[in-house]
């Protein structure tokens, strides 16, 4: 698993998902069942922005780019 993917997964599982019964895997859908709420999405975006070293415009924040950790890493690695 890539460093970036491991780093992002650790952040999500350690900082965002406070319920110990919920643990995201690389391909877990992040936006089903209320895993990510309106505060957590801001933290998630801020963390990804730090990782990639640029701001993410709102229009880029759509499901096809954010469905899972794997999708997020794939989308942002080439940008």
């Amino acid at each position: 698993m890539s460093d970036a993917r491991t780093k992002l997964l650790n952040y999500i599982n350690g900082e965002l998902l406070t319920d110990p019964t919920r643990r995201a895997a690389p391909d877990t859908p992040l936006f089903e069942d209320g895993w990510i709420d309106s505060l957590k999405i801001l933290k998630l975006i801020a963390y990804i922005e730090l990782m990639i070293g640029r701001n993410i415009p709102d229009e880029e924040i759509v499901m096809k780019n954010f469905r899972t950790v794997t999708v997020i890493i794939e989308h942002f690695k080439s940008k």
Binding site: F31, S38, K40, I41, L42, I45, D58, F66
Partner: protein, 273 residues
Amino acid sequence: MTTTKEIRTDNAMTRLSRLHEWLPSGRETVLGPHMLALTNWVDSKVVEFALKAGASEVPVPRLIKHSVLERAGYFESFPSSIVEESGGGCMPPATCYHCYAKLTATSLREPGVWTCIARCQRDEGGEESGRLQTFTMREIVFIGSAAWVRKQRQEWTDRILAFAQSLHLVVLLDAATDSFFAGEQARGRKLLQQIKGLKFELRAQMDAKGTSLAISSFNLHETFFSRRFDFQLADGMEAHSGCVAFGLERWALALALTLGPDQAFSLVEQEQR
């Protein structure tokens, strides 16, 4: 943008004013008899669709209790919104809150579709034509499993898009967020709506410059209202809800500006023959 014809609105708004059919007056806009009839005609078409889809009509009172809006989370979601109270209630900011209130603490034997209409009031700011502070909103509400509700929304989206195009409206279906979300988590709420595709708007072109106005919205609420109002499915599963909203005066205005007042008003006359 789905363009069905060249829009000809240059003088339509002026003509509507001269005909005393669309008259801004303070915080209200007064509609003349033909615009009122056109508004009612649009509503009758939506009701036809609703009844064919198996909807039950829900009669609702003119005012809504402040406590219902609190329970619906309205003031948390839109803290800057002003809701005026008078005579023991408030003008509703949206029609569908009445529906959820009526379903409080119930268990639904099967998925269902409801429709209701109410005069609504919102102070959203903005000076654009057609953005009224007091307006009439017809809503279709559907409640069931997540998959069923999502399917309902898709069917209603297809149905209403086809309806608008059959009337030669110049329309665009656009992903949207509630622009009046406010407060610390406003951006987070908007992004969640966007990422989950919870809200789409049908926007109609209102002038030759391409200015558009939302005439309908197609919304998913997930389990937000079923948790707030404590209704569920009979099998114990959480109920999901969705709704389609129609700003009826906006529909009538879009028709009058696109077709020209005479052709738009003739839609009603053709029906009466």
